[in-house]
């Protein structure tokens, strides 16, 4: 079945999802996504006029709690930072927002 989704669209969705696919994989990925989206099209056969969307199966509504800050211990803080890929002096370190090679310095 002809797929409704194009490689261009897949690249656009990937950008939204902060993903990238190598050019040589894009074709196969587009075909697979297309075949799944074709299956999604089966839903057009269902009459849903006047049906309310259902987004949860919970039996609870509007659960409130006090807005209260909880202090973490030094040990917890250290354990959390240990999971970070890069840290410096108790902070999580990230690369510069601007590409350093374009920085002109």
């Amino acid at each position: 079945m002809a797929s409704k989704i194009t490689e261009q669209q897949v690249e656009h969705v990937a950008e939204l999802a902060k993903l990238e696919f190598p050019k040589d994989e894009l074709g196969k990925f587009t075909t697979q996504l297309g075949s799944i989206i074709d299956m999604f099209e089966d839903l057009t056969a269902v009459d849903t006029d006047g049906v309310e969307p259902m987004t949860s199966a919970t039996d609870r509504v509007n659960v409130m709690r006090e807005d209260k800050a909880v202090r973490s211990s030094k040990e917890e803080r250290e354990a959390i930072l240990k999971n970070a890929p890069d840290t410096d002096g108790g902070y999580i370190k990230v690369p510069a927002i601007i590409d350093e090679s374009e920085d002109g310095e």
Partner: protein, 490 residues
Amino acid sequence: MDFYQTDLTQLHDDLVNKKISATELAKETFDHIKDNDDQVKAFITLNEDAAIKRAQEIDAAGIAGDQLVSGVPLAVKDNILTKGLTTTAASKMLANFNPVYDATVVDKLNRAGFINVGKTNLDEFAMGSSTESSAFFTSHNPWDLTRVPGGSSGGSAAAVAAGDVLGALGTDTGGSIRMPASFNGVVGMKPTYGRVSRWGIIAFGSSFDQVGWLTRTVKDNAYLTALIAGNDEHDMTSSLKEVPDWAANLNDSTSVKGLRIAVPKEYFDDLDEDVHDVIKAALDHLESLGAIIDEVSLPHTKYGVPAYYILASSEASSNLQRYDGIRYGFRAKDVKNLEDVYVRSRSEGFGEEVKRRIMLGTFSLSAGFYDAYFNKAAKVRRLIAQDFDDVFKNHDLILGATGASTAFKIGAEIDDPKKMYMNDVLTVPVNMAGLPSMSVPAGFSAKNGMPVGLQIIGKPFDEQTIYNAGYVFEQTTDFHKQAPKLGGQN
């Protein structure tokens, strides 16, 4: 020590009467696991040193007489947070992740004195039906090592089937407890949505995810599920409803006489013949015990898979945004700027199936497609839930097969995602409606000797009726007493 010839009650008695100590039991459990796990590959991480230390502490303090799991070795699916014990979700993204807190279910088990033997394999982020999407390795079905154990809780199911443990925690978003239970000839219960806290479960589809157990017996399952159930202030979707003592309510007088069982004709549409024969025999058996069996219709069944894959993938695309390479998890090397950290870390850290789900979800939620896909699927979800409501007006339970086939061969479906998704046709409708549902061993295929599971679906929060019927079925058959002969033919 293997766990084929015992159950929780028996093991507890043995521990209390000092026929075996918790430490000896833990050591024998690891011996057994090491004997078979190079073939089965159920575990990503074994917790041996900590488990034996914990068993020694429990021996020193004495087995708690009122806690059946005190000193009992059990396993935990590796998408459930365990403080200080690596929790990977079978993803390269979290290969070195060390949780700083326990999931509520693990906390409850710790307080009851369980011995955590280790973390079981799964499909990456619980997305899959075979464990083949695990970033580390594929688990093998103990009944036939060339076949998949099902997924996503395949490691947990295989560990129970291999006699490693009496029970292992799983999670079920679209069938991930029940399907592997069916493929491995064990009991698997997905409780009602909201029955068990999801706090500390690595989120996949938050409006579908539930935690539950894979066990050898129905009674063990009833006991263990009650132990982890109940309201939790950390999960605002967890129900305030009281948790009954399901196991205590099971006894020899439990009967299926007069039980009104609905059998949806749609659940037989695409069954393999060998599965069909086993399920038909199981229904005949229950009828002979006095159950009233009626054929009914759940007309929107066939729309369950497309609607589920839109909704669950949409929720996944949102839940998995947190993996950005910044605070924890995998960060790509040689990144030039912040955008690069996000894109490269996610592209290199996630496997193919996870990326496919994120893409499907992002597409379904994106401008121009939201109404046609996400919103349409959410409406179909309502219709599926209403189908169940209608049938439950006049029936106590809905029965059918758990899977349309028995466990398939490793490699048979991994390159055809659509075919893989269709494995979930009989399990996803239950998650859409938030219902409780259990798979119990119902017999073996005449074609390949593999186990077949009978699915028992109940009304919201009526796990008791499911356990009662499952218990009667189990006690009047001997399928649960069969054990795989590892490495040999069954």
